[in-house]
Symmetry: C2
Protein backbone atom coordinates (compact mmCIF):
# COMPACT_ATOMS: atom_id res chain seq x y z
CA UNK A 1 0.00 0.00 0.00
CA UNK A 2 1.53 3.34 -1.02
CA UNK A 3 1.93 5.91 1.75
CA UNK A 4 -0.89 8.37 1.98
CA UNK A 5 -0.06 11.78 0.74
CA UNK A 6 -1.76 14.99 1.66
CA UNK A 7 -4.08 16.41 -0.94
CA UNK A 8 -2.14 18.36 -3.55
CA UNK A 9 -2.62 22.07 -3.65
CA UNK A 10 -5.04 22.90 -6.40
CA UNK A 11 -4.65 25.84 -8.67
CA UNK A 12 -7.79 27.79 -9.01
CA UNK A 13 -8.66 29.81 -12.04
CA UNK A 14 -10.37 32.33 -9.81
CA UNK A 15 -8.61 34.18 -7.00
CA UNK A 16 -10.90 32.75 -4.36
CA UNK A 17 -9.49 30.46 -1.71
CA UNK A 18 -8.68 26.96 -2.75
CA UNK A 19 -10.98 24.45 -1.14
CA UNK A 20 -8.92 21.39 -0.49
CA UNK A 21 -10.53 19.18 2.10
CA UNK A 22 -7.51 18.84 4.34
CA UNK A 23 -6.78 16.06 6.72
CA UNK A 24 -7.04 17.19 10.31
CA UNK A 25 -7.18 13.76 11.86
CA UNK A 26 -4.01 14.33 13.88
CA UNK A 27 -5.32 17.45 15.53
CA UNK A 28 -8.57 15.69 16.28
CA UNK A 29 -6.76 12.79 17.89
CA UNK A 30 -4.66 15.22 19.88
CA UNK A 31 -7.76 16.98 21.14
CA UNK A 32 -9.36 13.72 22.17
CA UNK A 33 -6.26 12.66 24.01
CA UNK A 34 -6.01 15.98 25.78
CA UNK A 35 -9.63 15.66 26.81
CA UNK A 36 -9.15 12.10 28.00
CA UNK A 37 -6.19 13.05 30.17
CA UNK A 38 -8.02 15.92 31.75
CA UNK A 39 -11.21 13.96 32.34
CA UNK A 40 -9.24 11.13 33.87
CA UNK A 41 -7.31 13.32 36.28
CA UNK A 42 -10.26 15.52 37.06
CA UNK A 43 -12.41 12.52 37.92
CA UNK A 44 -9.71 11.15 40.17
CA UNK A 45 -9.28 14.44 41.99
CA UNK A 46 -13.03 14.87 42.32
CA UNK A 47 -13.37 11.41 43.82
CA UNK A 48 -10.55 11.92 46.31
CA UNK A 49 -11.83 15.32 47.39
CA UNK A 50 -15.22 13.95 48.14
CA UNK A 51 -13.92 10.81 49.82
CA UNK A 52 -11.39 12.55 52.03
CA UNK A 53 -13.05 15.90 52.64
CA UNK A 54 -16.61 15.60 51.40
CA UNK A 55 -16.13 18.62 49.21
CA UNK A 56 -16.85 19.13 45.53
CA UNK A 57 -14.24 20.09 42.97
CA UNK A 58 -15.89 23.41 42.03
CA UNK A 59 -15.94 24.44 45.68
CA UNK A 60 -12.29 23.51 46.03
CA UNK A 61 -11.43 25.45 42.89
CA UNK A 62 -13.24 28.51 44.08
CA UNK A 63 -11.50 28.38 47.44
CA UNK A 64 -8.17 27.97 45.65
CA UNK A 65 -8.77 31.20 43.78
CA UNK A 66 -9.64 33.02 46.96
CA UNK A 67 -6.68 31.65 48.85
CA UNK A 68 -4.45 33.48 46.40
CA UNK A 69 -6.33 36.74 46.99
CA UNK A 70 -6.25 37.69 50.67
CA UNK A 71 -8.04 40.94 49.92
CA UNK A 72 -10.88 39.14 48.22
CA UNK A 73 -12.18 39.06 44.70
CA UNK A 74 -15.29 40.22 42.96
CA UNK A 75 -17.64 37.68 41.47
CA UNK A 76 -16.64 38.78 37.99
CA UNK A 77 -12.99 38.19 38.76
CA UNK A 78 -13.77 34.72 39.98
CA UNK A 79 -15.92 34.04 36.98
CA UNK A 80 -13.14 35.01 34.58
CA UNK A 81 -10.46 33.14 36.45
CA UNK A 82 -12.46 29.97 36.73
CA UNK A 83 -13.74 30.31 33.19
CA UNK A 84 -17.31 29.64 34.23
CA UNK A 85 -20.46 31.71 33.86
CA UNK A 86 -21.51 34.43 36.24
CA UNK A 87 -24.67 32.68 37.27
CA UNK A 88 -22.66 29.64 38.16
CA UNK A 89 -20.47 31.62 40.53
CA UNK A 90 -23.48 33.19 42.20
CA UNK A 91 -24.78 29.76 43.17
CA UNK A 92 -21.43 28.38 44.23
CA UNK A 93 -20.71 31.37 46.43
CA UNK A 94 -24.15 31.19 47.97
CA UNK A 95 -23.56 27.64 49.15
CA UNK A 96 -20.07 28.39 50.46
CA UNK A 97 -21.28 31.43 52.37
CA UNK A 98 -24.04 29.27 53.78
CA UNK A 99 -21.51 26.71 55.03
CA UNK A 100 -19.36 29.42 56.61
CA UNK A 101 -16.37 29.11 54.29
CA UNK A 102 -16.84 32.42 52.54
CA UNK A 103 -17.51 35.96 53.56
CA UNK A 104 -19.38 38.17 51.16
CA UNK A 105 -19.92 41.91 51.29
CA UNK A 106 -20.99 44.64 48.96
CA UNK A 107 -18.22 46.93 47.82
CA UNK A 108 -18.35 50.34 49.43
CA UNK A 109 -17.25 52.17 46.33
CA UNK A 110 -19.48 50.38 43.86
CA UNK A 111 -22.66 48.89 45.13
CA UNK A 112 -23.03 46.57 42.16
CA UNK A 113 -19.93 44.70 43.22
CA UNK A 114 -19.79 41.81 45.67
CA UNK A 115 -16.43 41.13 47.26
CA UNK A 116 -15.89 37.64 48.59
CA UNK A 117 -13.06 36.20 50.62
CA UNK A 118 -12.28 33.12 52.66
CA UNK A 119 -13.31 33.09 56.29
CA UNK A 120 -10.86 31.81 58.87
CA UNK A 121 -12.60 28.47 58.74
CA UNK A 122 -12.55 28.47 54.97
CA UNK A 123 -8.87 29.25 54.80
CA UNK A 124 -7.94 26.63 57.37
CA UNK A 125 -9.94 23.93 55.67
CA UNK A 126 -8.64 24.87 52.27
CA UNK A 127 -5.01 24.77 53.37
CA UNK A 128 -5.49 21.31 54.76
CA UNK A 129 -7.10 20.08 51.57
CA UNK A 130 -4.60 21.82 49.31
CA UNK A 131 -1.63 20.13 50.95
CA UNK A 132 -3.06 16.72 50.33
CA UNK A 133 -4.31 17.68 46.90
CA UNK A 134 -0.77 18.55 45.88
CA UNK A 135 0.45 15.07 46.72
CA UNK A 136 -2.35 13.53 44.65
CA UNK A 137 -1.35 15.57 41.65
CA UNK A 138 2.30 14.67 42.14
CA UNK A 139 1.35 11.03 42.24
CA UNK A 140 -0.84 11.27 39.15
CA UNK A 141 2.08 12.71 37.19
CA UNK A 142 4.76 10.63 38.85
CA UNK A 143 5.90 8.81 35.72
CA UNK A 144 6.79 12.03 33.94
CA UNK A 145 10.42 13.10 34.14
CA UNK A 146 11.25 16.71 34.98
CA UNK A 147 12.08 17.12 31.33
CA UNK A 148 8.69 15.74 30.31
CA UNK A 149 7.04 18.20 32.64
CA UNK A 150 8.95 21.14 31.17
CA UNK A 151 8.22 19.99 27.63
CA UNK A 152 4.53 19.60 28.37
CA UNK A 153 4.40 23.01 30.00
CA UNK A 154 5.95 24.54 26.93
CA UNK A 155 3.68 22.77 24.45
CA UNK A 156 0.56 23.47 26.45
CA UNK A 157 1.47 27.14 26.65
CA UNK A 158 1.74 27.13 22.89
CA UNK A 159 -1.57 25.31 22.63
CA UNK A 160 -3.27 27.78 24.91
CA UNK A 161 -1.99 30.71 22.89
CA UNK A 162 -3.11 29.09 19.65
CA UNK A 163 -6.58 28.38 20.99
CA UNK A 164 -6.95 31.87 22.40
CA UNK A 165 -6.05 33.39 19.07
CA UNK A 166 -8.49 31.14 17.30
CA UNK A 167 -11.25 32.02 19.75
CA UNK A 168 -10.51 35.71 19.31
CA UNK A 169 -10.68 35.32 15.52
CA UNK A 170 -14.17 33.88 15.84
CA UNK A 171 -15.41 36.66 18.05
CA UNK A 172 -14.33 39.21 15.45
Amino acid sequence: MPPRVTAPEMLDSETKAVETPEDHADELRLWLRLLTCTTLIEGEVRGRLRQRFDVTLPRFDLMAQLDKAPDGMTLSDVSKRMMVSNGNVTGLVERLVESGHLDRRTSETDRRVQVIRLTKLGRAEFRKMAAEHETWIADLFVDLSPKDVRELMRLLAKTKASAQKSAARRRT
Copy 2:
Protein backbone atom coordinates in the same frame (compact mmCIF):
# COMPACT_ATOMS: atom_id res chain seq x y z
CA MET B 1 18.74 36.35 46.36
CA PRO B 2 20.29 32.88 46.26
CA PRO B 3 18.55 30.33 44.05
CA ARG B 4 16.10 28.14 45.89
CA VAL B 5 17.26 24.63 46.38
CA THR B 6 15.08 21.61 46.88
CA ALA B 7 14.85 20.26 50.39
CA PRO B 8 17.92 18.12 51.19
CA GLU B 9 17.34 14.45 51.68
CA MET B 10 17.21 13.74 55.37
CA LEU B 11 18.72 10.71 56.94
CA ASP B 12 16.40 8.98 59.29
CA SER B 13 17.57 6.97 62.23
CA GLU B 14 14.64 4.61 61.76
CA THR B 15 14.04 2.65 58.59
CA LYS B 16 10.69 4.25 57.97
CA ALA B 17 10.22 6.44 54.96
CA VAL B 18 11.80 9.83 55.11
CA GLU B 19 9.21 12.55 55.34
CA THR B 20 10.62 15.40 53.37
CA PRO B 21 7.89 17.77 52.35
CA GLU B 22 8.70 17.72 48.69
CA ASP B 23 8.06 20.43 46.26
CA HIS B 24 5.40 19.48 43.74
CA ALA B 25 4.71 22.96 42.49
CA ASP B 26 5.73 22.07 38.94
CA GLU B 27 3.29 19.22 38.67
CA LEU B 28 0.57 21.42 40.11
CA ARG B 29 1.28 24.11 37.57
CA LEU B 30 1.27 21.53 34.82
CA TRP B 31 -2.10 20.25 35.93
CA LEU B 32 -3.56 23.73 36.01
CA ARG B 33 -2.24 24.46 32.56
CA LEU B 34 -3.64 21.21 31.22
CA LEU B 35 -6.99 22.05 32.73
CA THR B 36 -6.94 25.56 31.35
CA CYS B 37 -6.21 24.35 27.82
CA THR B 38 -8.99 21.81 27.93
CA THR B 39 -11.52 24.18 29.43
CA LEU B 40 -10.66 26.82 26.87
CA ILE B 41 -11.03 24.52 23.89
CA GLU B 42 -14.04 22.75 25.29
CA GLY B 43 -15.83 26.04 25.88
CA GLU B 44 -15.05 27.16 22.37
CA VAL B 45 -16.32 23.93 20.84
CA ARG B 46 -19.41 24.00 23.02
CA GLY B 47 -20.20 27.53 21.93
CA ARG B 48 -19.75 26.80 18.26
CA LEU B 49 -21.82 23.65 18.40
CA ARG B 50 -24.69 25.45 19.95
CA GLN B 51 -24.40 28.49 17.69
CA ARG B 52 -24.13 26.56 14.44
CA PHE B 53 -26.20 23.47 15.21
CA ASP B 54 -28.06 24.15 18.43
CA VAL B 55 -26.66 20.98 19.92
CA THR B 56 -24.90 20.40 23.22
CA LEU B 57 -21.40 18.99 23.55
CA PRO B 58 -22.46 15.87 25.47
CA ARG B 59 -24.97 15.03 22.75
CA PHE B 60 -22.34 15.52 20.10
CA ASP B 61 -19.92 13.33 22.02
CA LEU B 62 -22.44 10.57 22.39
CA MET B 63 -23.27 10.66 18.71
CA ALA B 64 -19.55 10.57 17.93
CA GLN B 65 -19.20 7.35 19.88
CA LEU B 66 -22.13 5.80 18.08
CA ASP B 67 -20.94 6.90 14.68
CA LYS B 68 -17.92 4.69 15.19
CA ALA B 69 -20.12 1.70 16.07
CA PRO B 70 -22.54 0.94 13.25
CA ASP B 71 -23.82 -2.11 15.11
CA GLY B 72 -24.63 -0.05 18.15
CA MET B 73 -23.35 0.01 21.68
CA THR B 74 -24.72 -0.85 25.06
CA LEU B 75 -25.23 1.90 27.59
CA SER B 76 -22.37 0.53 29.67
CA ASP B 77 -20.03 0.69 26.71
CA VAL B 78 -20.98 4.29 26.13
CA SER B 79 -20.60 5.10 29.79
CA LYS B 80 -17.08 3.65 29.88
CA ARG B 81 -16.01 5.28 26.65
CA MET B 82 -17.31 8.68 27.60
CA MET B 83 -16.08 8.32 31.16
CA VAL B 84 -19.36 9.47 32.61
CA SER B 85 -21.77 7.80 35.01
CA ASN B 86 -24.42 5.33 33.95
CA GLY B 87 -27.25 7.49 35.11
CA ASN B 88 -25.94 10.32 33.03
CA VAL B 89 -26.02 8.19 29.90
CA THR B 90 -29.57 7.07 30.62
CA GLY B 91 -30.74 10.67 30.57
CA LEU B 92 -28.71 11.71 27.55
CA VAL B 93 -29.94 8.75 25.53
CA GLU B 94 -33.51 9.44 26.54
CA ARG B 95 -33.37 12.94 25.10
CA LEU B 96 -31.66 11.83 21.91
CA VAL B 97 -34.19 9.05 21.35
CA GLU B 98 -36.92 11.61 21.96
CA SER B 99 -35.48 13.89 19.28
CA GLY B 100 -35.22 11.04 16.79
CA HIS B 101 -31.43 10.84 16.63
CA LEU B 102 -31.07 7.52 18.40
CA ASP B 103 -32.67 4.15 18.20
CA ARG B 104 -32.82 2.08 21.33
CA ARG B 105 -33.76 -1.55 21.75
CA THR B 106 -33.41 -4.26 24.33
CA SER B 107 -30.85 -6.93 23.50
CA GLU B 108 -32.40 -10.24 22.52
CA THR B 109 -29.79 -12.30 24.29
CA ASP B 110 -29.66 -10.35 27.54
CA ARG B 111 -32.71 -8.44 28.56
CA ARG B 112 -30.80 -6.21 30.94
CA VAL B 113 -28.92 -4.71 28.04
CA GLN B 114 -30.04 -1.77 25.96
CA VAL B 115 -28.46 -1.41 22.53
CA ILE B 116 -28.47 2.06 21.04
CA ARG B 117 -27.45 3.25 17.61
CA LEU B 118 -27.79 6.31 15.42
CA THR B 119 -30.90 6.64 13.30
CA LYS B 120 -30.56 7.73 9.69
CA LEU B 121 -31.37 11.26 10.78
CA GLY B 122 -28.91 11.06 13.64
CA ARG B 123 -26.11 9.84 11.43
CA ALA B 124 -26.75 12.44 8.74
CA GLU B 125 -26.81 15.28 11.24
CA PHE B 126 -23.77 14.02 13.02
CA ARG B 127 -21.73 13.74 9.85
CA LYS B 128 -22.55 17.29 8.95
CA MET B 129 -21.56 18.55 12.38
CA ALA B 130 -18.44 16.40 12.56
CA ALA B 131 -17.04 17.78 9.33
CA GLU B 132 -17.29 21.31 10.59
CA HIS B 133 -16.14 20.35 14.05
CA GLU B 134 -12.93 19.00 12.60
CA THR B 135 -12.12 22.33 11.01
CA TRP B 136 -12.69 24.10 14.32
CA ILE B 137 -10.27 21.81 16.08
CA ALA B 138 -7.71 22.26 13.31
CA ASP B 139 -8.02 26.00 13.69
CA LEU B 140 -7.71 25.88 17.47
CA PHE B 141 -4.44 23.97 17.14
CA VAL B 142 -3.23 25.79 14.07
CA ASP B 143 -0.10 27.28 15.63
CA LEU B 144 1.29 23.89 16.57
CA SER B 145 3.77 22.39 14.12
CA PRO B 146 3.38 18.72 13.11
CA LYS B 147 6.30 18.03 15.39
CA ASP B 148 4.58 19.79 18.30
CA VAL B 149 1.51 17.67 17.69
CA ARG B 150 3.53 14.46 17.71
CA GLU B 151 5.39 15.51 20.84
CA LEU B 152 2.18 16.41 22.64
CA MET B 153 0.60 13.13 21.64
CA ARG B 154 3.54 11.26 23.05
CA LEU B 155 3.67 13.18 26.31
CA LEU B 156 -0.08 12.99 26.84
CA ALA B 157 0.02 9.25 26.27
CA LYS B 158 2.64 9.05 28.97
CA THR B 159 0.55 11.28 31.21
CA LYS B 160 -2.53 9.16 30.69
CA ALA B 161 -0.63 6.00 31.54
CA SER B 162 0.81 7.60 34.66
CA ALA B 163 -2.57 8.81 35.84
CA GLN B 164 -4.21 5.46 35.17
CA LYS B 165 -1.56 3.69 37.20
CA SER B 166 -1.99 6.16 40.02
CA ALA B 167 -5.75 5.74 39.96
CA ALA B 168 -5.37 1.98 39.99
CA ARG B 169 -3.03 2.21 42.99
CA ARG B 170 -5.65 4.10 44.92
CA ARG B 171 -8.38 1.61 44.16
CA THR B 172 -6.21 -1.18 45.55
